[in-house]
Subunit: 339 residues, 2 copies
DNA sequence: TTGTAAGCGTTATCAT
DNA sequence: ATGATAACGCTTACAA
C-alpha cells in the first residue's frame, strides 16, 4: 500500500498542499475549521509525514551518529544507554557504528555519517587513531562534534572524559595508606591517553609517598587488555620471582585474570597480594574475592556527551556562537575484599 | 562552508546537472572525457552526494532500525555487534532504539522508524508487549520485519530464535545423568516465551527420566531476573529447609546470585548443591566455581537476523515474492566446575 | 484564511 | 553524448 502524502489529503479535501501542511503543523494562519478537517482526514488516512522529505527541506535530520570502538563492552554499552536515552528526550535518533579499533574504518564511518547529513557526531576514538583529518573535516563542515572517553586533546571540539590520572592516583594512594609498599602496575599500551594517564597517576602516587618507582614492577598488557593478559602478566610476575604485595591493574578484566592465576597458585588475596581494578564492571562484585576498583560514570558520560552535542546543535541552528566544553567526570573508589 | 552540490559542479564545468549525475554514477551514456573531467572536479571540490536527497528520490534509505529491550546486557550487545557488522557489509546503517521493556515506548519507536522510512526493522520484543498492532502496521506498510530472541509466533514475518526448550531440556538431562535427583528450577515469569520454554524443558527432562516434577522446587524470580533474584531465591530455598542437590537457573546472573548465597552459607558447590546457568556470559567463566551453562550464539543471532532482513529487502526491491524464514539457532552446553 | 510556486539535491525519462 | 524537465514529499515566502 503506497504511503499517503500531503497531496492525497489535499486532493481529498479540495485544499492545497500548503494549507494542509500548515494545518498539520498547527499554524495560526489556518482557521480552526479547516484545521479540524485536515487533522481528521490525516488521522483517518493514517498519514504521517515522510521524514526524508522533511529532512531534505529543513536541512536537518534529527539524527546523530555515534562511533565507538566496540559495543560488546560493559562500559561502552552503558555509555550507549546514556546517549540513546538523552537523545530520545529531544526526539533524536541514533545511528550506531563500531570502529572495531580500526582507524581506516573509523575514517570511512565519519564520511558515511557526514553524507547522511547527521546533525551531530559523537566519537570515542579507536586506539589506532593517530591522524585527525577526519575529525577536522567534521568541524570544517560545521557539524557539531563531541569526543568522549578516548579523545584527542588537540581537536577543537567539546570533550567528555574521566580523570584517569586522578583515579589511578587515588587508588594507589589508597593502597599505600593501607600499608602496601611493593605495588605492581599492570598497564596497557594501547588506548593511548587513558593507559598513559593511569600509569602516570600510579607513578605520581608512589613518588608523592616516598616510594621509589620501580620499572620492573610494571607489566605491559598489550595483547588485548583482557582477561588473558592479566592472567599472563601475573604468571610472568610470579614465575620470574618478582615479589610484590599489591597489584594495581588498568582494568577489571586484567585484575580478574590476575586473580585467577594467583588463586590457582594458592596465593591469598589480599593477604599475600592485594589487587585493585579499574572500571567497576558488574563482574567485579561477584568474583572471589570481590574486587576493589574505580567506578567510572559510564551512563553519565553518554548522557553528558549527548547533552553537550544537542546544545551545540541548537546553538548552531539559532546562529548563536558555540563555545566548546571540556567536562571531566568524577570517579570514585569502590572498596571491596581484594585489598 | 556550504555543501557542494551537483549544481556547483555542473556550473563550474558548464555541464548540466543530469550529465554530472550520470558521470558520477558511471553511466555508459557519458563519454570518458567528460567522466574524467567530472570526477576530477568532484574530487577537487570534495563533493559527496547528499544522501537525504538520494533517499527521497530513490525511496530507500539504506538504513535499518533495531529495537531491543536494553543495550546494557552482554547477550544483546553481542547481538548488536552481529547486526551492525552484517549491515555494514551491505553498506546499511543501523538506528538503535531501546524499548526499555516498555510497551508504549516500543510502539512509539516503531512509528518513528516507519516515519524515518527505514528499509527494514529488527525487533526483540519487550516483556510487556502483549498486543501486536504495531508489528502488523510494519507489515501492512510493506516494510520487512524480522523478530529475534523475544518473538511473537503469530506474527507473519521471519524469526530467529534459540531453542530454549531443548537447551533447558539438555541441561537438566545432563544433571540427571550426572546423578542429581532433586533439581530445583529458578525461573522467570516475564520474558514470556523464553522463560516458559525453559521451564517446560526442565519439566520434560524430569518426566522423561522418571523423576516426578515437584512444583515446590520451582522458584519464581520475577523481580528483574537478576543477581539479587538468584540470591533471594537461594536464601528462600535454604531457609525454608527445602533440600535439593542441584539448581537449574534460567540465567547466569541468577545462578551467580545463588552461588553467592550458597557460598556465604558454606554450602559446597557442586558437592552439596550443583548449579547450572543459562547464557554463558563471560562472567560465568570467572566466578568461583566456574559456572556450567548454556551457550547462546548471540553474535550469530544478530548476524542471521540482519542477513534475513537484507534478503527480504532485496527481494522486495526486485519484486520477488518473499517467504518468511524461521531459524532456530543451536545452543550448546558449556560444562565447567559448578556441576 | 487560503493558494501558488519555488526550492531542498538528487535521479530518471525523454528529447536533442 | 548531453540536456531539459519532472518528480520524490515537504515547507515557506509571497500573492491573492
Amino acid at each position: 500500500m503506497p504511503q499517503i502524502t500531503l497531496k492525497d489529503i489535499a486532493n481529498k479535501l479540495g485544499l492545497s498542499k500548503a494549507t494542509v501542511s500548515k494545518a498539520l503543523n498547527g499554524s495560526f494562519e489556518i482557521s480552526d475549521a479547516t484545521k479540524k478537517k485536515v487533522l481528521h482526514a490525516a488521522r483517518l488516512l493514517n498519514y504521517t509525514p515522510n521524514q526524508v522529505a522533511v529532512n531534505l527541506r529543513k536541512k536537518q535530520t534529527k539524527t546523530i551518529g555515534v562511533i565507538i570502538p566496540t559495543t560488546v563492552h560493559h562500559f561502552f554499552s552503558k555509555i550507549i544507554d546514556g546517549i540513546i536515552k538523552r537523545a530520545e528526550k529531544d526526539e533524536y535518533l541514533v545511528i550506531l557504528l563500531q570502529s572495531n579499533e580500526n582507524f581506516s574504518l573509523e575514517k570511512k564511518q565519519v564520511n558515511l555519517l557526514l553524507d547522511k547529513r547527521v546533525d551531530g557526531i559523537l566519537i570515542s576514538l579507536s586506539n589506532k587513531t593517530n591522524e585527525f583529518v577526519h575529525l577536522n573535516k567534521i568541524i570544517k563542515r560545521n557539524v557539531p562534534l563531541v569526543l568522549f572517553d578516548k579523545i584527542e586533546p588537540s581537536i577543537p571540539c567539546s570533550k567528555v572524559v574521566i580523570d584517569d590520572f586522578k583515579a589511578a592516583y587515588n587508588s594507589v594512594v589508597y593502597l599505600i595508606k593501607k600499608g602496601y609498599k611493593k605495588i605492581a602496575h599492570f598497564r596497557g599500551d594501547f588506548n593511548p591517553k587513558n593507559a598513559v594517564d593511569r600509569f602516570e597517576g600510579y607513578k605520581q602516587a608512589l613518588i608523592d609517598n616516598n616510594i621509589e618507582f620501580d620499572p620492573t614492577l610494571v607489566f605491559m598488557c598489550n595483547n588485548n587488555a583482557d582477561f588473558e593478559d592479566g592472567y599472563a602478566s601475573a604468571k610472568k610476575m610470579i614465575t620470574t620471582g618478582i615479589k610484590v604485595d599489591a597489584i594495581f591493574a588498568i582494568t577489571d578484566l586484567i585484575a580478574i585474570g590476575a586473580i585467577k592465576y594467583l588463586r590457582e597458585q594458592q596465593v591469598k588475596i589480599p593477604e599475600d597480594i592485594a589487587v585493585f581494578g579499574f572500571s567497576n564492571w558488574f563482574m567485579s562484585s561477584v568474583v572471589t574475592p570481590t574486587l576493589s576498583t574505580v567506578d567510572q560514570p559510564a551512563y553519565k558520560m553518554g548522557e553528558m556527551s549527548m547533552e553537550i552535542l544537542l546544545s551545540e546543535i541548537r546553538n548552531l541552528q539559532q546562529h548563536n556562537d558555540i563555545t566548546h566544553k571540556e567536562v571531566v567526570l568524577p570517579t570514585k573508589l569502590v572498596i571491596r575484599n581484594s585489598c
